[in-house]
Subunit: 146 residues, 2 copies
Amino acid sequence: MRFTTRGKYGLLLMVDLARNLGQGPIPLKSIAERQKLSERYLEQLVLDLRKAGLEKSVRGSQGGYTLAKSPEEINVGDVIRVLEGPIAPVECENQMDKDCCSNTDFCINREVWVKIRDSINDVVDSISLADLLSGRDNEQEKIKIL
Amino acid sequence: MRFTTRGKYGLLLMVDLARNLGQGPIPLKSIAERQKLSERYLEQLVLDLRKAGLEKSVRGSQGGYTLAKSPEEINVGDVIRVLEGPIAPVECENQMDKDCCSNTDFCINREVWVKIRDSINDVVDSISLADLLSGRDNEQEKIKIL
DNA sequence: ACAAATTCCGATGGGTTTAGTAGGATATAA
DNA sequence: TTATATCCTACTAAACCCATCGGAATTTGT
């Protein structure tokens, strides 16, 4: 039950952009260096993020990327779903919302998968890039861990 | 973000055993037929489930498997963690509970991964095999979907 | 004693996915 | 015109998933 590096790196990328807001377009090279990731691999991620309307790009020398919206308006869930696809803990996603197969054991278990899906979506949709930068919940988190 | 078929099939297997409780040991062959799964593949899953103490086996003719505990005492989370390993949405699990790397962007994002992990564990630990059989939450679920 | 059923266990293999790398086209600033 | 970047597609090595296979060990029934 893992996200791939697409989601992991993509969120790093977006947080980096959010932190460097207002400095003009940020070239991928500098992000790759700061985050110690492959620039070439990040290229593929930003491509999807831009197409999804989460980033804007400026081509050519002095070019780079900026967030297309403010950090408050971009949720972690937006980023992750673009890079990882829709969150669905088991296959049969298209039917996960339907009452399609109510007499099999799979659909007895469907309750489990639906609840997992919903809980993950709730978490990622409740955290914005701005939240991450401000560390809003970090203290709660530390209390919980200790 | 998917579980593998191990978790999916394993839960089917356990629900099947729970349903056929009190009928003596259930041979894998009959489970495989009912659930339309490969008996050979299920073999590998029950091996782990038995070693983890969730099932008991009886070898030889007329043998099979039974739940090692009552369906009320077995949570979905028990089953899934045995078959899929610990729930951890990104790598670095061993350190996910520690305050190990507080100055990197990864650990700014750690808040996200920790919350996802906890929310999944909360869901799967709150549902027992007995809950699934009784369909306790199914009505809530249908209301939510419609 | 023997045959059938069944679990136990390790090895192997084909297909898919992941995590990049590579090549080259296009656009822009200086 | 050169250097810097993004854009886009194709490729690849390694890992992982989903089984299948062969055969040993155990138990019941005849």
